[in-house]
């Protein structure tokens, strides 16, 4: 179990417990957190679960998957800190992770 905080573009913050083995995207969808669309359901095929991860966390979470950057190219306003939340694995090591949501996904 890890506490994950999702911060919407307007500053609204949601902190939820997400079970180990899920992804940060699944944690958002299961807890009805607005701002993560996840249209393709975690197939890394749509870039609608796009989040920004600040430096202090970026190196602690698992590395980008092969092809993830190709999808991020297609996200709304990608930045250096962009990740697809369906590719971030939840484990006790990332307890306290904060991710920031873009203004919109599409």
């Amino acid at each position: 179990m890890a506490k994950i905080t999702y911060i919407e573009n307007n500053g609204t913050s949601h902190t939820v417990d997400v079970a180990e083995g899920l992804t940060v995207m699944e944690g958002a969808v299961q807890n009805n957190i607005p701002g993560i669309d996840a249209d393709c359901g975690g197939g890394m095929a749509c870039a609608t679960c796009h989040v920004y991860v600040k430096d202090e966390w970026f190196d602690k979470i698992n590395k980008k998957s092969e092809g993830e950057d190709d999808m991020i190219d297609q996200a709304y306003e990608p930045k250096k800190s962009s990740r697809l939340s369906c590719q971030i694995q939840v484990s006790p090591e990332i307890d306290g992770l904060e991710v920031h949501l873009p203004e919109k996904q599409i």
């Binding site: 359901g41 870039a47 190709d70 190219d73 599409i106």
Partner: protein, 339 residues
């Protein structure tokens, strides 16, 4: 006005198999899809990715699955309307009147929505100012490349579409190619060619940069791009082209008076009918307790929706359940010999 027993919206795996089921039980149908090709998400999103959970097919790619479904549909003459989006759906007596973005009109008692996560639309530039130039000097697809002759064209993106067009247009136009990273996802041969032309000064290649602002009086005149170090640069340009892939949008389906749950349509599990009589939803777009977004679920849903269509298309006939192994009628429809 095309009259048909059932109209299917969406040419993905679920739509294709639903067509097969309709034809088997003796109903005609036509299929509309906003994409210009058959296969839906399987072709657009993962043509080369292996799928492992299609019953009796241990492994196949999205493209192979689509080809197999088309092969299965071969005995039937199915009319596809590709590159058309269903825009209007209106009740007229007991029938539905349907109109597409290209003006094709249908009259049918049954409409089956097999629309996946909605229709695929190009992902657009983020600055709001781009809207005023959209479809004129800011484009997301190219219909007539002649309009670029002798002009300056700024192409954004790092995939095959962006790079292929950069190569093509560099023959007759001044091309800026702008990409967010310095790695490209296009085919390696294409990337090599672009780099060669860039070294030769024939393509102005700018990496690690994104569109920040556009300006112009009536038509696009200048774009401002920003690199990773937040440095901005202004470029004169006549056109800006964005190739950022496709997104899925529910689109006009949201206006048809259906019970929606987020981006899905609520259905019953007997007929997969929505709250509107004669409108069904099958595959990823439908929602009911326990719904699984698997291709195999779409096949089951389509088979049941097809039987429900029979009642409305043939109100005076009784539907009789038959197996393909034994039914003479079905074998005739399939064009195979009966024993």
């Amino acid at each position: 006005m095309i009259k048909t027993d059932a109209l299917i919206i969406g040419a993905g795996p679920t739509g294709l198999f639903t067509a097969h089921q309709l034809k088997l039980i003796g109903l005609d149908c036509e299929i509309v899809d906003n994409l210009d090709k058959i296969g839906g998400q399987c072709i657009e999103l993962y043509p080369d990715k292996p799928i492992y959970d299609i019953p009796a097919i241990p492994e196949c790619t999205g493209e192979e699955l689509t080809n197999n479904l088309l092969e299965q549909l071969k005995p039937f003459n199915i009319k596809f309307h590709l590159g058309e989006r269903v825009d209007e759906l209106k009740k007229d007596n007991e029938k539905w009147k349907v109109k597409t973005s290209k003006g094709t009109e249908f009259e049918t008692p049954n409409v089956i929505i097999a629309g996946g996560v909605g229709s695929f639309e190009p992902r657009k530039f983020s600055p709001k100012e781009c809207e005023q130039f959209e479809n004129k000097t800011i484009l997301y697809s190219i219909k007539d490349k002649k309009i670029f002759d002798g002009k300056t064209v700024s192409i954004f993106g790092g995939g095959d579409s962006a790079l292929d067009w950069a190569l093509e247009l560099s023959k007759t136009s001044k091309v800026n190619l702008i990409h967010r990273r310095d790695e490209f996802r296009a085919a390696q041969a294409t990337v090599d060619k672009v780099k060669e032309l860039s070294n030769a000064g024939k393509i102005n290649l700018i990496t690690n940069s994104q569109l920040k602002m556009v300006s112009g009086n009536g038509k696009l005149e200048e774009i401002e791009i920003e690199n990773d170090n937040k440095e901005t640069k202004k470029l004169k340009t006549d056109f800006a082209l964005g190739f950022f892939g496709l997104i899925m949008q529910l689109g006009p389906i949201a206006n048809w008076g259906l019970n929606l749950n987020k981006k899905t349509v609520e259905v019953d599990t007997e007929k997969f009918e929505t709250n509107q009589k004669g409108i069904y939803a099958v595959g990823d777009i439908c929602n009911y307790p326990g719904k699984l977004k698997l291709i195999l679920s779409g096949f089951h849903e389509g088979a049941l929706a097809a039987r429900a269509c029979f009642k409305l298309a043939r109100p005076n006939e009784k539907y009789r359940f038959e197996f393909t192994t034994s039914s003479k009628t079905i074998k005739n429809r399939l064009g195979v010999k009966s024993d």
